[in-house]
Amino acid sequence: MAQVNSTSQQNYGIKIAQLGYDARTAADQNLLFSSSWPLLKIAYTDSVSVPANSTYTYAHNFGFPPFHFGPTDDNNSPLTLLQTKVDSTNLYIINGNATAQTARFYLCYNPLNINFQALDNQNYQLYTAQPYDKNYGIKIVKQNKNINSTDLRDFTVHSGTRSLMIEGIVSGILANEPILPGGNFNTVFYQSKLPYPSLYFGFWSPDGITYNFLSGFGQSGPKMARGTAYTIKYTETMWILPKLNTPSQTGCIYVFKDPFIAANPIQVSYSG
């Protein structure tokens, strides 16, 4: 797979610091934006009604299989309930239900078949509510929208917000062999150096052409898995386990630098 490196990124690109920090010296967790970590680029979104036992198709024509969000189910039975998949030309939402289903999808201009690794650091990212100064930072408004709008949907980027930042992308061929916990994980594999359970998404392709979004919980594969022995600090492993007896499989894992560690986690005690 192609690889995009970013080893010299610290002194390249742009950074926007939080209010009160100097962008030249601020640690990563105090930056609102850093071009060292690419963002998901939303190219198209829509909410569509998919008729019963039908497939909705949207032609994106990107020329590569793109990152996407859509309704997903266990990939063992792609025609059960709802399943989203893409290839280099189209996005598909398959509705295996006996009734029409409405679903929103997001299609991002980020390829699934090119690897990337951001510069790792191990800063914790405790996060609390930040004061917002409308005269600080940057805003880029969408065409035909007002720069003074208070609706965040009117902006492509807004320094009163944070976006998901891509820490790593790894894709490749999946081994077609029995995979069991504790066994031979000869699969697409990513080891995170982030100091918290990071947000990640997995995609599985039976043929290297069409990619299925993975819920992460397939019973007998393909599925996403995290390391059973990972620790909260620094090391977390993630795999895509192949579907057995399916040749030419490919997987892709996207790992995000965000989330932050929540500054005030919530504990709920259910007492009935």
Binding site: N5, F33, P38, R104, M224, I232
Partner: protein, 163 residues
């Protein structure tokens, strides 16, 4: 959106005028998923649910609300939820090897984090135009045993449209 509008930032060694999708760190021609910082403790957090008691015997189907918070938008926002496995801050949670991500309320088996497919017991997590919910759901005649268990979820409520 027009190609000649806004800003582009390429990764090192690439020309912004010719860079491919993977060579651009940022391109304002495209929208981004945005977490509003001034309300970050509501819109992004980790919720751990501890069951001090068993849920009531369900009447099919039964939904028990465990957590609910007003998100501050007047529309259904886009949400992501990560079911955290193994341990997080000392808590044990969903399963040891197979966590799930939920996008906009869709996870394994549809709009649920299933704990047991055979028992049809699941966490149902979604947002409407006012609130974000974490519910326990079953369409079976009994719940699993919950007393003494912890379940941890990390959630994100973005400003983008959910439905």
């Amino acid at each position: 959106m027009a190609d000649n509008y806004g800003i582009k930032i390429s990764l090192p060694g690439n020309n912004t005028s010719t860079a491919s999708a993977s060579q651009l760190s940022f391109d304002s021609s495209y929208d981004t998923f945005k977490l509003k910082l001034s309300n970050i403790n509501t819109l992004f957090n980790v919720v751990t649910v501890f069951f001090a008691n068993e849920p009531p015997t369900p009447v099919n189907p039964t939904t028990v609300n465990l957590y609910k918070i007003a998100h501050g938008y007047n529309y259904q926002p886009f949400i992501l939820v990560l079911g955290i496995d193994s341990s997080y801050s000392g808590f044990s949670a969903m399963s040891t090897s197979a966590p799930s991500v939920m996008v906009n309320g869709y996870g394994y088996g549809g709009s649920y984090f299933y704990l047991s497919a055979t028992e049809n017991t699941a966490f149902q997590i979604y947002a409407d135009a006012t609130y974000f919910y974490i519910n326990l759901f079953t369409d079976n005649s009994k719940f699993l045993t919950f007393r003494g268990n912890y379940y941890t979820f990390k959630y994100y409520i973005f400003s983008e449209n959910g439905f």
